[in-house]
Each structure stands twice: as C-alpha cells, then as structure tokens.
Amino acid sequence: MASATTSSPTPDARASGYVRELWERRSFSWFLAISELRARNASTTLGLLWWVLNPLLLGLVYFAVFGVVFPSERDIAYLMSGMFAFHFTAKSLSGGANSILRNARLLANLRFPRLILPLSNLIDGAIGFLVSLLVLAVIIIATGGATLTAAFWMLPVVVALHFMFNLGVATLGARLAVPFRDINNFIPYVTRVWLYLSPIIWPLRLIDEFPDPMATLVTANPMWSFLALYRASLLGADFSATHLAAATAWAIALLVVGVTAFVRFEGRMVRYL
C-alpha cells in the first residue's frame, strides 16, 4: 500500500490521492449507508417506510390546508412532487450536518476520507428518494395526470444535478455543524422557511402576487429551479432552459464550495468531537 502521509507536497497530488482513497473505499460508503438504513429498520417497526411516510403524511396535512386556502387549485401530484424533492434536500442538510457527530467513534479510530460520511448519508437519502419517486408515480397515474413528454427523459439529469446539489448542502452542513453545534438547532427553522419559500404548498401562479423582495427570494431559491425541472419531466409542465441552467449552476457551485470547505476542515474535525 502507498505511504499514508498527512502532509503532502502538492495540492494536486493531494486531491488525486484523496479521490483515489475515496474510490478505494466505495464499498465502505455503500455499507455505511445500508447499515444506517438497517439500524433504523431495527429500531422502528416501519423502518425505511418512514422515509416515504414522513413527506407523504406532511404532504397530506398540507393538502388539507391547501384545500381550504386554494380550493379550486389543489393538485396532489404538484404538492407531492415538491414535497418529496424538498424532503430529500432537507434530509441531506440535517443528515449531513449530523453525519460527523453520529460517527464520532469511527472518526476517532480510523483514518479514511471523511467525505465518505456525508456521501453515505446522501446514498441513504437517495435510496429513500428513489422509493418515493415510485410512490409519486403511483400518485400521478392514480390522479390521471400522467403525460409522457420529451422532458421526461431529462429526469436522470435532474436527479443527478439534485444529488450534486444535496451533497454540497450536506458537506456544507457538516462543515458548519461540527464546530458550531448551535447550527443543529437552527436547521429545522431554516428548513421550514425554505419550504414556505419554495413552490410546494402554494400554487405557482401566486408568484405574481408576491411583493418584490420576496418574489426575488423565491425565484432565486435553488428549489425553484429544481422543482420546475421535476415538474417539467414528471407532470408535463413547461420546460425552461433557464431552470436547467440555474439548477446546474447551483449544483456545481454548492458541490465545489461544500466539498472544498469540508475537505479543508477534515484534519481538524476530530478536535471538535
């Protein structure tokens, strides 16, 4: 095996070494994600099902509220597509922030690329998300809203961008939550506000009625673009290249910023545990 060095000569060599180590430990990421799922399965009766049930039940609550506020416009496929996609990102944020603290024992004992922890958290979330997409498919078909357009084939690209974005969110969350434990207390509120600012529990046309700073905030919100893309590919909504460009930019920017910040912090991480 190669020499394990904590101080390397060039940043380039370090980056490629890091990626190689990450690749060598790919089965570890996978196993960690699966065992998280298993541990949850072991402690709750419904296990993995909760990943789908949580957004589904929350969605149903909002669906009822939606029905009161916008009785003529309630659309369960619209609501649930937003709910599931948003839930994946929200889970990445909270799970990513927690991934380091939760695996403190592993971290203190073994040397491995720490990026594996938020990464396997993402894998864990992705499994749940893919299952929830199946549930969404059932909802869409059941409500008769199934329209297969050309944009449907964009779905893998959208999902891939969403994964990148979520990994960025998770690493950034972890980077901040390890030294600043207070962050964990803020996350639920941040998530809640983010949910309200995303077009999930209110119909899209409402954007025209928002006052300006809020309208800007809503459309600049990365979920605005991601949700538009999901709905274009799944619900036959209009596809816009602007959304694709914005989502791509968000995904790349967050991934680069998050992963860089995380990896730079890695060596000091264990001091905060």
Binding site: T6, E24, R38, V270, Y272
Partner: protein
Amino acid sequence: MTVAVKVDNVSVVYRPYVDRQPTLKKTLLRLRHREISPVVALDQVSFEVTQGEAFGIIGRNGAGKSTLLRVLAGTLSPDSGSVDVAGRVSTLLQLGVGFNPELSGRQNIYLGGLAAGLTRPEVDDVFDDIVDYAELRTAIERPIKTYSSGMFSRLGFSIAVHLDPDVLLLDEVLSVGDQGFREKSRKATLGLLGRAGTLVLVSHNLNTVEELCTRVAWLDRGRIKEIGPASEVVQAYQITQKEAAAEAADARPRDKSGAAARRKPPKWPVYKKTDVVLRLLAGESLAQVSQETRVSEEKLEAWRDSFVAAGRHGLRVRSSPGRQTR
C-alpha cells in the same frame, strides 16, 4: 532498515476546553478578545521507528501520548511538522466503544474492516478468524450495545490484529479483557512483530512496555524527555515517578500497610519487580526483569552462565525476600 514511522517536528496545540465546542456567539465574541491560553499537547516531537520494531510511549497522564497516537493514526493532523507512516495502519485508540452500537457485531466487523480500507472479499476471508479470536461466536448477530465491555474490547482488538496491519498502534489495550485474553493479545502482538510488522504501544503498564518494546520514548508535557532502549528509559521514568511519589508521601502521610495489602501475593516463580536485577561489575543496571515475568530457574542459570562466560563478575541475582539465589 526501512523507516516505518517518521515523526518530524510535530506540534499539536489544543484550544482549551471552554473553546472546544465553540458556539457562534463565542466565536463572534472572540473577534473582540481572542486571548485564550493554548494547551500544547505535543511540542516539536521527532523520532523514527524502523520496520519490525516495537516502540513504546510512556509518560504521565496528559503528557500527550494519546494525541501522539492519534497523529500517527492520521485521525488528527498536527499544527506543524509532518508524519509519515508507511503501509497499512491499524489502530484501536478507543477500543472499548465499538463503532456503531445499534449494529450487530457482524456489521461492526464489516464497518471497521471496510473503513480501514479492506475490500468486502477481504473482510469475508478474515471474518471467521475475527469472531473466533474474539470468542464471540454466539453473540455476533446481536447489536453491540448489548455487549459487555470485555466483549467490546475483545472484538475491537480482534478486528485490529486481523486487519493484517503493517503498523499497529495500540493505546493501553493489552490490559483489557480477562487474564486469558490478555495472554492471547500479547501473543498476537508478538506474532505481528514476527511478521516484520511495526508496533507502537502506549501504556501505563511499564512491565508490558519493557517486555514488548525494544525502544521507548518518554513523553513529558508534550516533549520527548528521553528516548532509547526500553529498559533504560523505563528505569529513568520509574526513578522520577518514585521521587514524585515520595514527595507526595512526605507531604501527605498515608497508610502504608493498606498499600501493601493491595498488591497481589506473588505466585512462585513470579518474582517481584526489583527482585531480579542483573548488574555489571560497574554496578549499572543492565536489565530488569519485570513484575509479571515468570523466570524459571533454568533461565536464571543461563543468564548467570552467559555473564560469567563474558568475563563479567558481580552478577547478583536476588529472588523473593529471603531467598538469595546467588
């Protein structure tokens, strides 16, 4: 000789406890007054360990021993200086805890093995050995939160030695488990050394250190106070320890008989710590047989013969009180 571990001018500074879990508020406040006296855990430490060597690290609590092991393990990067460890490193820094308490022993073995860089088939291959060695055949499917601390330790130690490391880092683990397992772990450690593996051992058990290690570093408040052959360094350390203890005893008289009663009654032929001392004519100590070592009469004879053959006289062998062998 190949260098297995090279530590060059390594320093680690911890920020004090109050600041170890900084909050946003504290960080913002710190922008105004940022004076906090840092705690230097390691202060420009340098040494090398050659391949196949057993290297001991001793010192009082808080001397920086565990920090040094963490740096060697690569889980903590030093503030300055560099560390090179050649080959696969296996560590058990916090042995008694396991990795994920919710998961079964089986899954924890995989978790530890994969994290350490093994592939799945490789873990499959050693899985049975790990379980048998840890004597956990019946408990392996249970979540490890249901394990006793001895079971944890056995599992952890078993994983560490079966990862077939080039460099094994042990922190006070040879003293875990019951008597039988302790003996087994000592054998495994010797086996590793036999395969040209390198061992770095942190322990408060000076006898273990002296017995296993060829060289020892004595850390004192983050600095290497002495480094060299095990017996010399351990003895130098013991002398200061005794002096410190004597000072403490002078300052605060205590019940001497109570201390004596706590010691285990010696089982023949286990000699007490200072009972068997081999001395050169000049009177300097050459080797000291440690407390736990069983010294057979044959071995004593052999030692004495070799000393006499080397033209050295004045070898004095003392056994238990009142039993002067020669």
